[in-house]
């Protein structure tokens, strides 16, 4: 006869958060239900030794926070750093009061560089080069997009760094980029050793942004760099784009309509008043209320907006896939138990038409309700 193992034998939780069973012991609790994520929730700082070097990440804020691409780049730096190397992030920003959870992002030191609109790109690059020369990082990592790519290339060109752009994979001590081929050479990949590179510009999805450890999370504010205007080049100022004409993929704030929205005219008026880009779910598009180009979801577009206001959308899995990278999701729905309520940070249980009317009246009565903050 085989002795059966008691499935509810006594166990206790150790200081490390591990469930421990002493065979034959009677101490401990019998009905100990351990939360499944218990191990993952205990995160310790990555750096335990004195720091002797560092990796530098350059990134700009994206409307007051940092987006997924920058998160991935910082995570890549934290994963590539050796046990005695710190992850230093240089963050040129105009608003120093920003709230960042530097520790959980894996940042060991966050260096805020106060800049204004008067600072030219050249002045910013000079400030970064000064820090680079002081820190001497083993590698500089930059997200390959927009302002970050511009700043990174300026620094790389000025310092004669060896440089890899649009890195698609970092593995086995090598960075991999796409090779577009040449006259008489077929396209393929190209790899270079990390030891020979000074700067990596990372494409999306090079690293996973969930880290099992913490950074030290120090925060310092660097002195503001000199503005250094260039003779003969004058900035004539910027004009904000019209929210209605912005492509959904790069929109900052999206107002999306689902099956609950029957008054399309009112919906468009509200989008105009809020300064939001218009999106729609598949049902609303199939009904012919919105063009196919505005469909968000698995068969439509994938969006990365900072704010997503879902009007009368229940939140089918396919739709939630499309808004996976949205930072703040807010929903208005008659059914507060709809799946979108699981995803959204604020759910208002109300009929959409009534709420849209009330919201429009509120926006119109409040002063200077002309579009969003840019």
């Amino acid at each position: 006869m085989m002795r059966r193992v008691d499935p509810r034998r006594p166990a206790f939780i150790t200081a490390q958060g591990l469930r421990r069973i002493v065979l034959g012991g009677t101490e401990g609790e019998r009905n100990l239900r351990q939360s499944a994520g218990a191990h993952a929730t205990v995160r310790r700082p990555r750096l335990t030794q004195p720091v002797s070097g560092c990796l530098l990440v350059l990134t700009h804020p994206d409307s007051g926070g940092i987006d997924e691409h920058a998160r991935e780049t910082i995570a890549a730096a934290a994963l590539l750093a050796r046990a005695d190397e710190a992850v230093v992030v240089m963050f040129p920003c105009s608003d120093l009061s920003l709230q960042l959870d530097a520790e959980s992002l894996g940042i060991d030191r966050l260096e805020l560089l106060p800049v204004t609109d008067a600072h030219t790109r050249e002045a910013l690059a000079d400030a970064v080069i000064q820090r680079w020369q002081a820190l001497r990082p083993r590698l500089v990592l930059v997200p390959d997009r927009g302002d970050d790519a511009d700043l990174g290339r300026r620094v790389a060109a000025a310092q004669g760094m060896s440089f890899a752009a649009s890195v698609v994979e970092v593995a086995d001590g090598c960075a991999r980029v796409r090779d577009h081929g040449g006259v008489g050479r077929t396209a393929g990949d190209a790899t270079a050793k990390l030891g020979e590179l000074d700067m990596l510009m990372l494409a999306r999805h090079v690293a996973r942004s969930e880290l099992p450890f913490l950074g030290l999370g120090e925060q310092v504010t660097l002195p503001a760099p000199a503005t250094r205007p260039i003779a003969g080049v004058r900035d004539l100022g910027r004009v904000a784009g019209k929210a209605q004409q912005v492509a959904l993929e790069e929109a900052d704030f999206i107002l999306a309509a689902g099956n609950g929205v029957t008054d399309v005219g009112l919906f468009h008026e509200l989008a105009q008043a809020l300064g939001a880009t218009v999106g729609a779910s598949r049902v609303a598009v199939d009904d012919g209320r919105f063009p196919r180009s505005q469909q968000i979801g698995a068969t439509g577009r994938t969006v990365q907006a900072r704010g997503y206001l879902a009007m009368g959308i229940s939140g089918a899995v396919q739709h939630l896939q499309g808004i996976r990278e949205c930072r703040h999701v807010i929903a208005v729905n008659t059914d507060p138990a709809a799946p979108i309520a699981q995803r959204s940070e604020l759910t208002v249980a109300e009929d959409v038409q009534n709420l849209m009317r009330a919201l429009l009246a509120l926006v119109r009565t409040s002063p200077d309700s002309l579009g969003t903050v840019r």
């Binding site: 440089f163 593995a171 396209a187 990949d189 080049v233 004058r234 759910t347 009330a358």
Partner: protein, 276 residues
């Protein structure tokens, strides 16, 4: 012979390797840059077109077909590094004028560093993401930069100020810049190959690239998993707490109260302008 100084506006054009057929073709972005330069200069003058390296004659004729009479092809060694290309370009562009380039090459490694290295060597300002270029009455330039989310920023270059302008990837999508194609111009245009002596450049660190067949699967950098198998299964089925409990649900109150709450939340996130 056209030079950059004479025409005042130069365009650096490059070869695109078609990703399907592998053949050398004209780059859509560079063709749009040539069209932009022609529009900016008007009918009286024409832009200076320049390329470095072994551009096939057929591709060069494709650029000439846009109505340009001459294309300058500067020779470098077959295995020239970017520093050598910059050296050759520097001596060709040194005598002033605005130079338009594409953001990234469409052949080889496409690092996009060349315009920055050129601007650095020439000690000239660089403006990226250029979507429009207009000539002003006094001979200066008005440069329009495309920023994310449809925003535009304008710059003014005073007369005689030389600069490197990097076009926006969106320039090729501009519908009012259809590059023209004239067979006669393609045949009549000439390809000149002046001898350029470049000064030696300072040696910079260069990585050694190994070319290999492309691999479809990319392995993302991920930490070694320390979580237990049970936690992993729970995460996959979405039965952990972290799977998302949802946020606050507002059920009570009148419609106006709810709308006010919603608007306050949007203002807190600075998605809508705060109340003055």
């Amino acid at each position: 012979m056209t030079t950059l100084k004479k025409s005042g506006l130069g365009v650096l054009v490059s070869v695109r390797i078609d990703p399907i057929s592998g053949r050398a073709t004209r780059s859509g972005g560079d063709a749009a840059a040539v069209a932009l330069a022609q529009k900016a200069l008007g009918d009286t003058r024409e832009p200076w077109l320049c390329t470095v390296g072994d551009m096939p004659v057929g591709v060069a004729r494709d650029y000439l077909a846009q109505g340009v009479s001459q294309l300058t092809r500067l020779a470098v060694r077959g295995d020239a590094a970017m520093a050598d290309v910059v050296t050759v370009l520097e001596s060709a562009c040194r005598d002033g004028g605005v130079v338009l380039t594409g953001p990234r090459a469409e052949s080889a490694l496409a690092s996009g560093l060349l315009p920055y290295a050129l601007a650095q060597r020439l000690q000239r300002p660089l403006i990226n993401e250029v979507i429009d270029l207009l000539r002003e009455a006094d001979g200066g330039w008005r440069v329009v930069q495309a920023l994310p989310r449809g925003a535009r920023r304008s710059w003014r270059l005073d007369p005689g100020v030389a600069a490197v302008l990097v076009t926006s990837p969106r320039l090729a999508q501009r519908e009012d810049l259809q590059p023209r194609y004239s067979w006669v111009a393609a045949q009549a245009g000439s390809i000149v190959e002046p001898a350029v002596a470049g000064s030696a450049s300072a040696p910079s660190r260069v990585a050694i690239w190994n070319f290999e067949p492309s691999r479809k699967q990319r392995r993302p950098l991920a930490p070694l998993s320390v979580e237990s198998g049970a936690a992993r299964m729970a995460r996959a089925t979405g039965s952990t707490e972290s799977a998302g409990q949802g946020g606050t649900v507002v059920r009570d109150g009148s419609v106006v109260d709810k709308a006010r709450l919603l608007l306050d939340h949007l203002r807190k996130l600075s998605l809508v302008q705060p109340c003055a």
